[in-house]
C-alpha cells in the first residue's frame, strides 16, 4: 500500500499536468522584483554616481575613482554635522526613554479618564515634525512668542533669550522640541510592554519585601527589555536621521552650529547640486549606520 502510494506520488510529481515546485517562487517573483527595483536600484545607482563627478554645471559621468570618498575625510563641516547629530541623539534618547518610562508607570494603574489622558499625551507624536519645528520656532520667538513673555512675567522684567540664535540656547531649544514630540512614542510602547508583565511575579516580590528598584531591575526590566530595545533602536535611528524639525526650528544655524548630517546632505545635494559628492556622503552614512545598528542589535540581544 505504502509502496503503491509512493509510486502514485512519484507519478503525480512527474506528471506534466501538476504545478511546478518552483511555482511559489514564480508567484512572489513580481513583488520581489518590484521591491528590489524600488529599493535596490536607487541604492546601486547612487553608488555608481558616487564614483562620478556630477555637479551643478558638469554632467561628467565618467569614472572618477575615489575622489569623492577622499574628499569626505577632509570635509570638516561633514564631521561637525555628524558630531551635532550624535550630540542630539545621546541627549534626547535617554531623556525620552526615562520620561516615557516614568509616564508609563504613571498610567499603569487604573485611573479615571485614563484613556482621554493617554490620547492627549500621544497628540504631539501625530503632528508632522516640520509643523512641530515651525510651531516651536514661533513659541520661542523673542518678539511674538509666549515663552519669553511668560519668563518675563516670572522674572518681573523683560527677558531676552534668543533661543534659535544664541549657541547656549539653541540645542536646548531643539531638545525641548524633540523630547516634547517623541516622548509619547516611548510612553506608548513602554506602557504596552509594562502592561504585559506578569503581575503575579511583581506581587510575589512585593510580598517578599522587595522594593521598587529591585522589582524593576530584576523582574520588570528583563521582561520588557526586548520591547524597550526595539524602541531604543527605532528612536535612535530616527534621531540620527533628524532633519525636518531642526530645519524648521533653526535651519541648521546659527551658521552651521546645529547642522545635522541630514541637513548637510540636503544642502550639498539640493542647494549646492554636488550630486556625486552627496551620493558619497549617503554611502558613508549607510556604512556608519549599518555598523552601529548591527552592533546595537548584537549588544541588545535582539538577534537571538
Amino acid at each position: 500500500m505504502a509502496q503503491s502510494f509512493a509510486s502514485v506520488s512519484s507519478a503525480v510529481r512527474r506528471s506534466p499536468q501538476m504545478p511546478d515546485h518552483n511555482f511559489r517562487y514564480w508567484i512572489i517573483a513580481p513583488s520581489v522584483f518590484l521591491l528590489l527595483l524600488i529599493g535596490l536600484f536607487p541604492l546601486i545607482y547612487a553608488f555608481v554616481v558616487s564614483f562620478q563627478q556630477i555637479t551643478m554645471t558638469d554632467y561628467d559621468t565618467s569614472f572618477a575613482g575615489l575622489v569623492n570618498y577622499q574628499a569626505l575625510f577632509s570635509d570638516q563641516r561633514l564631521w561637525e554635522s555628524i558630531l551635532h547629530t550624535i550630540v542630539i541623539t545621546v541627549i534626547a534618547l535617554p531623556v525620552e526613554l526615562i520620561l516615557g518610562l516614568a509616564l508609563a508607570y504613571l498610567f499603569l494603574e487604573k485611573m479615571y479618564g485614563k484613556q482621554i489622558f493617554i490620547s492627549l499625551i500621544v497628540l504631539p507624536t501625530v503632528i508632522s515634525p516640520i509643523v512641530s519645528g515651525a510651531t516651536w520656532r514661533l513659541l520661542f520667538d523673542q518678539r511674538y512668542g509666549p515663552i519669553n513673555q511668560v519668563l518675563s512675567w516670572i522674572a518681573g522684567r523683560e527677558v531676552v533669550m534668543l533661543w534659535t540664535i544664541e549657541p547656549i540656547l539653541v540645542y536646548p531649544a531643539i531638545l525641548i522640541c524633540e523630547i516634547w514630540q517623541w516622548t509619547p512614542f516611548m510612553f506608548l510602547i513602554l506602557l504596552a510592554a509594562l502592561s504585559s508583565v506578569d503581575k503575579s511575579l511583581t506581587e510575589a516580590a512585593e510580598l517578599d519585601g522587595a522594593g521598587f528598584w529591585r522589582i524593576f531591575l530584576k523582574i520588570e526590566l528583563p521582561a520588557i527589555w526586548p520591547v524597550m530595545a526595539i524602541a531604543i533602536l527605532i528612536r535612535g535611528v530616527d534621531l540620527f536621521r533628524i532633519f525636518d524639525m531642526v530645519w524648521a526650528l533653526t535651519g541648521g544655524g546659527p551658521g552651521t552650529y546645529t547642522e545635522t548630517i541630514s541637513i548637510y546632505t540636503y544642502v550639498q545635494g539640493f542647494r549646492q547640486f554636488e550630486t556625486s559628492y552627496t551620493a558619497a556622503i549617503a554611502f558613508l552614512i549607510v556604512a556608519l549606520m549599518s555598523f552601529v545598528v548591527t552592533w546595537a542589535i548584537r549588544r541588545m540581544g535582539l538577534a537571538k
Binding site: 554645471t57 520667538d141 518678539r143 540664535i165 544664541e166 549657541p167 551658521g255 544642502v267 549646492q272
Partner: protein, 493 residues
C-alpha cells in the same frame, strides 16, 4: 547739344522706371513695417498669443504676496485677452533656484516661464536651463521697449555673455526710510545736539548712522522708540553686508589672484559695527525678518530702517486696506516717512526678478509672449501700481508716471528715491555658482549673531570662498568676475 539716340533714351527710361519701382516698393514696405510695429509690445504679444488659445502655460513665481499679481491680475487678464490659461507655481525664494535646476535636470517641461533672480542668471544660463530670448525679441519686435527699462536693470540684469536670458521685471533697491517728524522735532534736535555736538540729520555714512541711532535710542526711550532697526536674519543681512562692505571700500576678490578679500580690515569693521549697532536696536533684532522689521516701523517704534520699496508704499498707507494685505500692520506713520539713500549713498539692488523662459518648456512661444506682455511698458506700469504689488518700478516711465505720482502725497519723493537708487545702486555679486558664495555669507552672519569673533568668521568665510573658486576653476571664475566687476554697478564709482 547732341541728341541721344532713341536706343539710349529707352535704356535710360527703363533704368529710371526700375529705380522708381524699387523706391516705391521700399517705401511701401517701410510703411507696412511701421504700421505693424506701431502697435505696442503688449498689443503685439496679445495678438500673436491668440493662436495659442486653449493652451496652459506654467510660470514659477515667488510664493506669497508676489504671486498675487499673476493669480489675481495678470493671469486672469491674459486669459481673457488670449484664451491662454496661466498656472502659477508658487515657490519660496530660497527654493526657487533648486526647483528650477531640478526641473531642468528632470526635463519634464513642467515649467514654461520663470522668475529668476538676476544673480542666478549666469549659473542657470550656463547650465542650459534658460532659453535664449534674442530670436523671440527679434521675432516679436520687443527690442525698442526693452531699451526703455531703466539702464541699471537693463544693462546688468538681462544678459549673459551678450545674450538675453531674462527681462528685468522688478526694481528692487534698498531705501532708507526715516521719520521726518522725529528728525524735524525741535526738542529731539536740541537733545541730539547736546548729546553729540552736531546737528541731527539723516546719516550719510555708517559712522554717522551708528552715532545717530545710538543717540536717538536714548533720547526717544520715554516714547518707547528706538533709533533704528533692520531685518537681521542672515538671508537679508547678507545683502546688507554686500552693500555696506563695498560702500566702505571693500573688494570681494583680488582681481589678479582671485583670492577672496572679504576678510580685509574693511570686512572686519563692517561686521563689528553691525553687531555693535544691535545694542541700540530693539532686543531680539537678530531674529527679525522682513515682517518683524516692517511691523516695528509701521507701529512707529523705530526712527530709521532700510528695506525694499514696499515698505515705503505700505508706510504711506497705500494698499493696506486690501484683503490680501490684512497681515500688514496698519500704518501709524503715514505722512511722516522720508526717503533717502542708505548710508554710503550706493544702495544694494538686492535680489530683484527677471522673467525668463525655461529651455525645457514645450510652449516656448506662448511662454515668451506672456513674459513680453507682462514686462511691456503698458502692462508693467499697471502691475507696479497694484496695491498688493511687490514688483517695484523698473522702467524710466514708472518713475515719472502721473498716476503713480498721485497715489499718495509723498509719492514723488518716494519715486525720486527709487530712481536715484537705481542709478547709483550696487549689483548683487554674480559669479558662477553664486549661491555657494552667498551661502557662506549667510552662515557668516549667523555666526556673527551667535557671538563669534568677526575676524575669525571672515577668515573662515574667505577660506571657503577660495575653496569654492578653486573647485570651479580659478581662471574660469576670474573671467566671470572680471566681466561682472567691469559693470558700473559692481563697485561704487
Amino acid at each position: 547739344m547732341v541728341a541721344m539716340s532713341s536706343g539710349k533714351r529707352e535704356g535710360r527710361m527703363s533704368l529710371l522706371k526700375k529705380i522708381a519701382l524699387t523706391a516705391s516698393a521700399a517705401i511701401v514696405t517701410a510703411g507696412l513695417t511701421s504700421a505693424a510695429w506701431a502697435e505696442s509690445a503688449a498689443e503685439r504679444a496679445v495678438k500673436e498669443a491668440q493662436k495659442y488659445k486653449g493652451q496652459t502655460i506654467t510660470i514659477v513665481w515667488e510664493a506669497g504676496l508676489q504671486s498675487l499679481d499673476p493669480l489675481n491680475f495678470s493671469g486672469p487678464l491674459w486669459e481673457k485677452l488670449t484664451g491662454i490659461k496661466v498656472k502659477v507655481v508658487e515657490v519660496q525664494t530660497a527654493e526657487m533656484f533648486t526647483k528650477i535646476m531640478q526641473e531642468y535636470r528632470a526635463g519634464t517641461g513642467a515649467y514654461d516661464a520663470l522668475n529668476v533672480i538676476p544673480a542666478w542668471m549666469p549659473d542657470l544660463a550656463n547650465a542650459g536651463a534658460l532659453e535664449v530670448l534674442d530670436p523671440y525679441v527679434q521675432k516679436y519686435g520687443y527690442g525698442d521697449e526693452l531699451q526703455k527699462i531703466a539702464a541699471t536693470y537693463r544693462d546688468n540684469q538681462m544678459k549673459v555673455d551678450g545674450k538675453i536670458f531674462g527681462f528685468p521685471d522688478d526694481g528692487d533697491v534698498f531705501v532708507m526710510y526715516y521719520r521726518k517728524d522725529v528728525f524735524g522735532d525741535a526738542k529731539v534736535q536740541e537733545a541730539f545736539k547736546a548729546k553729540t555736538g552736531r546737528d541731527l540729520a539723516v546719516p550719510k555714512n555708517w559712522k554717522d548712522f551708528g552715532e545717530t541711532g545710538a543717540a536717538l535710542t536714548e533720547i526717544l526711550k520715554p516714547q518707547n522708540m528706538y533709533g533704528a532697526a533692520f531685518f537681521r536674519q542672515p538671508p537679508y543681512t547678507m545683502f546688507m553686508f554686500q552693500e555696506r562692505f563695498r560702500n566702505e571700500g571693500g573688494k570681494f576678490f583680488d582681481a589678479e589672484s582671485m583670492k577672496a578679500t572679504i576678510n580685509s580690515d574693511v570686512g572686519v569693521k563692517v561686521l563689528t559695527e553691525m553687531r555693535n549697532e544691535n545694542k541700540f536696536m530693539p532686543p531680539g533684532v537678530e531674529q527679525w525678518g522682513f515682517v518683524e522689521n516692517l511691523a516695528a516701523f509701521m507701529a512707529g517704534q523705530t526712527a530709521m530702517t532700510i528695506s525694499w520699496p514696499p515698505y515705503g508704499r505700505w508706510a504711506a498707507g497705500y494698499g493696506t486696506d486690501e484683503k490680501a494685505l490684512s497681515w500688514v500692520p496698519k500704518s501709524t506713520v503715514a505722512g511722516k516717512v522720508g526717503y533717502a539713500m542708505p548710508p554710503g549713498g550706493h544702495p544694494e539692488l538686492a535680489a530683484g526678478f527677471a522673467l525668463s523662459v525655461a529651455s525645457t518648456s514645450k510652449n516656448k512661444d506662448a511662454a515668451y509672449l506672456f513674459i513680453q506682455w507682462l514686462n511691456s511698458e503698458d502692462i508693467s506700469l499697471q502691475r507696479v501700481k497694484l496695491p498688493t504689488a511687490l514688483r517695484d518700478p523698473f522702467r524710466d516711465s514708472h518713475f515719472t508716471d502721473p498716476g503713480y505720482l498721485a497715489l499718495w502725497p509723498d509719492a514723488k519723493d518716494y519715486l525720486a528715491a527709487l530712481q536715484a537708487g537705481s542709478k547709483s545702486g550696487l549689483l548683487d555679486l554674480s559669479l558662477l555658482q553664486t549661491d555657494k558664495y552667498e551661502e557662506v555669507l549667510r552662515q557668516a552672519i549667523g555666526k556673527l549673531w551667535a557671538g563669534e569673533d568677526p575676524k575669525k568668521i571672515l577668515d573662515a568665510a574667505a577660506g571657503e570662498w577660495d575653496a569654492i573658486t578653486k573647485k570651479i576653476g580659478v581662471d574660469k571664475q576670474k573671467a566671470v568676475y572680471a566681466n561682472w566687476a567691469s559693470k558700473s554697478g559692481a563697485y561704487p564709482q
